[in-house]
Subunit: 481 residues, 2 copies
Amino acid sequence: MSARPKQLHVNLFEMACVSHIVHGMWRMPGNNRHRMGEMAYWLEVAKLSEEGLFDAVFLADVIGTYDRFGAGDAPALREGVQIPNLDPLMLVPAMAAVTRHVGFGVTFSTTYEPPFAFARRMATLDLLTGGRVGWNVVTSYLRSAAQNFGLDDEIPHDRRYAIADEYMDVLYKLWEGSWDDTAVRNDAAAGIYTNPDAVRRINHTGTHFRVAGPHLVQPGRQRTPVVFQATGSPAGLEFAARHAEVVFIGGQTTADVRANIARTRERARAHGRHGDDIRFIVMAGIVTDTTDALARKKLEKYQQYYSTEGALVHAQAEIDLRRYDPNERIGDVLRREGVTFGNMNRRFRPDQTIGSALRQIATFDEGRFFAVGSPTTVATQIEGWLDIDGVDGINLRQYHSFDTARDFIDLIIPELQRRGRYRTAYTPGESLRERLFERPGQARLPERHFAARYRDPAALHAPAAPLFPDEPAPSPLSKAS
Amino acid sequence: MSARPKQLHVNLFEMACVSHIVHGMWRMPGNNRHRMGEMAYWLEVAKLSEEGLFDAVFLADVIGTYDRFGAGDAPALREGVQIPNLDPLMLVPAMAAVTRHVGFGVTFSTTYEPPFAFARRMATLDLLTGGRVGWNVVTSYLRSAAQNFGLDDEIPHDRRYAIADEYMDVLYKLWEGSWDDTAVRNDAAAGIYTNPDAVRRINHTGTHFRVAGPHLVQPGRQRTPVVFQATGSPAGLEFAARHAEVVFIGGQTTADVRANIARTRERARAHGRHGDDIRFIVMAGIVTDTTDALARKKLEKYQQYYSTEGALVHAQAEIDLRRYDPNERIGDVLRREGVTFGNMNRRFRPDQTIGSALRQIATFDEGRFFAVGSPTTVATQIEGWLDIDGVDGINLRQYHSFDTARDFIDLIIPELQRRGRYRTAYTPGESLRERLFERPGQARLPERHFAARYRDPAALHAPAAPLFPDEPAPSPLSKAS
């Protein structure tokens, strides 16, 4: 145990859309979310995050529409729920150009685009930013997304994870194995820019992908960007145990959260990793002001703008809960109507009443990681998250851009700093990985991570065991050979 | 005819590698090319280009290695010939973040990545930059590139163009047809961000692609980025006639150049376009100083660093010309050895002697569009390119970063401005398309361009005739259905 109290890691949770996760708030006067198509908006997000000494700006993404509530795409469009939605990869270089320290976590799906191109994009970002990038690995869950990439429907969940596992294998070979650290010589006198003996093709031939290499980008500070992932399913947990460095966890109660963390650490140890090789992050909602009373007043003001309809759209709910008896239980209604609840099952239980679910939505109540109050009140709650729940940090959800971040910076951070719970400066030249793990000098993945095997060129020719060995058929994305 | 003399359009020709096109020059003292992995390098490129009132920074790209000269990848790596090579798409947002006017032309291949994702990336860039982006459409010519994307070898040339034609069709539907200009309402009082009636799915079902949509990004200033293309083959010419707005042309002589331009314009007219709907750009080499004598001295200094080996690598030459009798003709040697000349055939004729080809390489002599001398000498030559050859502009090749651009800005531009041959300021808020065509207010493709048909939603359901109707089999990239 460290003598120093555990410090909070903070990512600003963003998405290049008007209504990301707290729906309807874009309508609030003074909210800048409608400016998300302007370069200036993102440069301000970046500068604000750096002013707040945040770990990173974290960019969510989705590549289809939420089309199950109501008539196709219309409700999502009307509400601005994750459409329009810009490509987050294009935002990172712009934000990096005007900052020096803050990191960037960017969401990208392993399901629809070729690994060689993505490996090159992320390696370019890692190089240009001096090691400030992380990647949130997702496998994409919308049928509407699948239909944008030539498929009729989603690839089944566990199969997506099997594809993702091989995708990671290809990326690691390119990022960790294709170029030695000594490859770039830049020796003008000898006329040698790169030492060819220190670069190699990967010649990956797997179930889903064939990639020759060599990687086109020389190694950046981190080589492999910090691997973020959200778990939930058994396949997702196993994937995280092998690959993830930062895991987003849910859980309405301390017991749930602690169990999630313990289970993930246990599986990571089974993969030869250390328990503290993974950081655990929760999405948190914080509404603060100088006093508890003012903070509650601010919350009430925010709540006036919240859109329940937006929440139902985002949840992919196939029914409009507002039309049912509030005393009925959710599970009963779903059974009777023969519909599904979309993503709602992540937040609500079948035995909950419709009335309580709607109240929960309308009040922003996100359970354990929702704090409303003065800096003292909120900071005390945050200390509980760190010490009692055992999480390492938060993705700060935004109710108002840029007031949510501004309030957090002006009010919460000074209080956390007074308590020794937040950094007081960036460490110059630090990579995102060094910052997240507080391991100075360790910008690269630890030797015990799966990817590190490819630092030995011989490993490039010894196929790694897939994580999900029962996966039989090749991906529909496999190319004809 | 305009009363004003024709003005020169200028793109700075760049690529995110050490040795792009004038090989060996990275070894020259004071050259900054080895810094191409640094963010600061690209921000300087952008600011310098904006200082020079250039139309755009033009970024070349390649997604494999030049592996035919010598032993595989080794010579290319040693010489830094287009490897390491960063992803150019990642450079544009960074450069855009620190500039307000200069445009960006970025190379991307239609052969290996799904159109939906690329449509979104470019639309994001067009939106964020206020319409400052262009896209250089290529189909990728290296076998080593194909092998990075699951294929054994290149898709045959004409088939690549047939795939590219459908790729464009998908993009146009997304860019021009999926969102009306009036779609984004941003009406907080009414709670309507986007009017759903003004957005639609494209439901493209073709030979090579199936893409449902809707497009995820609201329209930017240009919608479709300016379409750049290099022609050469008959298929390429036809493709340019339908799609391209800026065409890179080669030609060693005025007669060649004029014939290329006339032929392309004629084919464009056959597609219902106007002759002046296409701009013609040549790659030009310019070495200048205050006097002719000093400019020649500078050239001699540059020539000392030139690498013939780098040129042979880049040419994909299968033989080392330096090992043969300089008096032999190239064609005879190739026949005898049973090898190909790679891309060399673009620059040299089979009846040329090996000695003359090697001399041409070593002296940088690029034929008609190579000017060495004082500002007066060079400006007069440039006026000839505009008035005699009939080109509209140049991609300025760099011998030295940043001296080549610096010299051009400090010496050539003032002289061109004195002659009324170069803008004296940017027009604020102008899109790249308006700048290139000198058509203020026309940021969008003209109504007579193929893409414009999709502005009528009905056209989304009426399949367009493919440009190459004989193309039979689906692309190996097509997804299982």
